[in-house]
């Protein structure tokens, strides 16, 4: 039996692994995709204390190497279920693993708009990462969907490459920083489409346009764009655990700053839990908090 099973090898999960291993516990981390989590999409991380600038890939790789050097076992499998009890049973890739404690660090993923053919056209005009894909849209017209900081930053980034950037937002004001919005207003190739929803993607094998619907007049119009960048936030992926921990209405695991889920021996760390700030530092902090709580629980068990 393993002391602690961690679900997810992102920043929270790997930070938890480092703390638990250094406390002398055995650790197995399950990851369905690859280590690193969301940060691997970030070209430059410049807000992690003590590190002036690092690529998300290098950060994630450093974390991974640190955890594996300490003895972390990383299993490439999706966790399908966790069963509570004196011994926790974790089902992953069709096999059952036993542990004294479990840390859920499942993270979050990009929230889709929910449009027809959105998934099918991802990579053929639909993108969730302007800094990754923006360069492929040089001199083309694109639309950005969203009103938060990410959407504003994406629009600003894309305005340097693209012939035209439509920023489509369902409200009349942005949630993102006013400074960013002001900078966008000065850009000649950026046009705000406010109080509007994107209701349809046009094009067969690739995006040829989008249809936006004005929320007030109900009027629909077509925007001729070859790219649709969706920046409407993240969503969690915790349904598999809904029977052992409480989820809020958005699907985040209900847990406080102590990472306690209310189920003894099961902890939630990082972006997957209810919290106000979802940053690299808070994910790492949660990893430490959850790991030390799990270690204390193992001593009692």
């Amino acid at each position: 039996m393993t002391d602690i099973i961690i679900v997810g090898a992102g920043t929270a999960g790997l930070s938890a692994a480092i703390y638990a291993l250094r406390a002398g516990k055995s650790v197995v981390v399950f990851e369905q995709l690859t280590y690193g989590g969301q940060i691997i999409n970030t070209p430059e991380v410049e807000n992690y204390p003590g590190i002036k600038s690092i690529s998300g890939f290098d950060f994630a790789t450093g974390l991974y190497e640190q955890a594996t050097a300490l003895g972390a076992v990383i299993e490439s499998a999706q966790v399908e279920a966790v069963e509570d009890g004196a011994v926790k049973k974790v089902t992953a890739g069709g096999k059952v693993y036993e542990a004294k404690a479990v840390i859920l660090a499942t993270g979050a993923k990009n929230r889709p708009l929910g449009l027809e053919r959105e998934e099918e056209l991802t990579g053929s005009g639909v993108s969730y990462c302007a800094t990754c894909d923006g360069a492929f849209y040089k001199n083309r017209a694109v639309a950005v969907s969203g009103g938060g900081n990410t959407a504003l930053e994406d629009a600003l980034f894309l305005s340097n490459y693209c012939s035209k950037v439509y920023l489509v937002h369902r409200r009349d004001a942005f949630r993102g920083e006013a400074k960013l919005a002001d900078r966008l207003k000065e850009k000649e190739n950026v046009e705000f489409v406010l109080n509007a929803n994107i209701v349809k993607i046009l094009g067969e094998d690739e995006v040829k346009g989008v249809v936006v619907k004005d929320k007030i007049s109900g009027e629909e119009k077509e925007l001729a764009v070859e790219g649709l960048f969706i920046a409407i936030g993240q969503m969690p992926d915790n349904q598999a655990f809904s029977s052992i921990v409480k989820l809020d209405d958005k699907g985040y695991i209900m847990a406080g700053e102590d990472c306690e889920t209310g189920t003894a021996g099961i902890y939630a760390a990082g972006d997957c839990r209810t919290k106000a700030v979802r940053q690299l530092t808070t994910a790492a902090a949660d990893g430490a908090v959850a790991a030390l709580a799990a270690c204390a629980y193992c001593e009692l068990a």
Binding site: I39, N41, F57, T122, G123, G125, C132, D133, F136
Partner: protein
């Protein structure tokens, strides 16, 4: 199996005129998910017992190739058979899905 670096100069010979299917990885050095996927592609190549080839296109060096094959997001994997794209995938995927791309062709 060795992974071939593909360029505008050798693409036709190595990929389009290949006798066996070719798995092509479109990537860039600034792309984190590409750097995650790349070693998995290498592993699939290393474990292969023939039957297909593996090559990589750096989209910054080979803009023409990226444009010709309509690359709009990377990492992008495309499987060429008889000069045509027969399978493709965009974004980071686990190793078993990389493997599945070249199986049963």
């Amino acid at each position: 199996m060795e992974v071939v670096t593909l360029t505008g100069a050798n693409f036709e010979q190595e990929v389009l005129k290949s006798d066996v299917p070719v798995l092509v990885d479109f990537w860039a050095s600034w792309c984190g998910p590409c750097k995650m996927l790349s070693p998995l592609v290498d592993q699939v190549a290393a474990e292969a017992e023939g039957g297909f080839k593996v090559g990589k296109v750096n989209v910054d060096d080979e803009e023409m190739l990226a444009e010709r094959y309509n690359i709009m997001s990377i990492p992008a994997l495309k499987v060429f058979k008889g000069g045509e794209v027969v399978r493709e995938s965009v974004g980071m995927i686990p190793k078993d899905r990389v493997k599945a791309l070249v199986e049963g062709l």
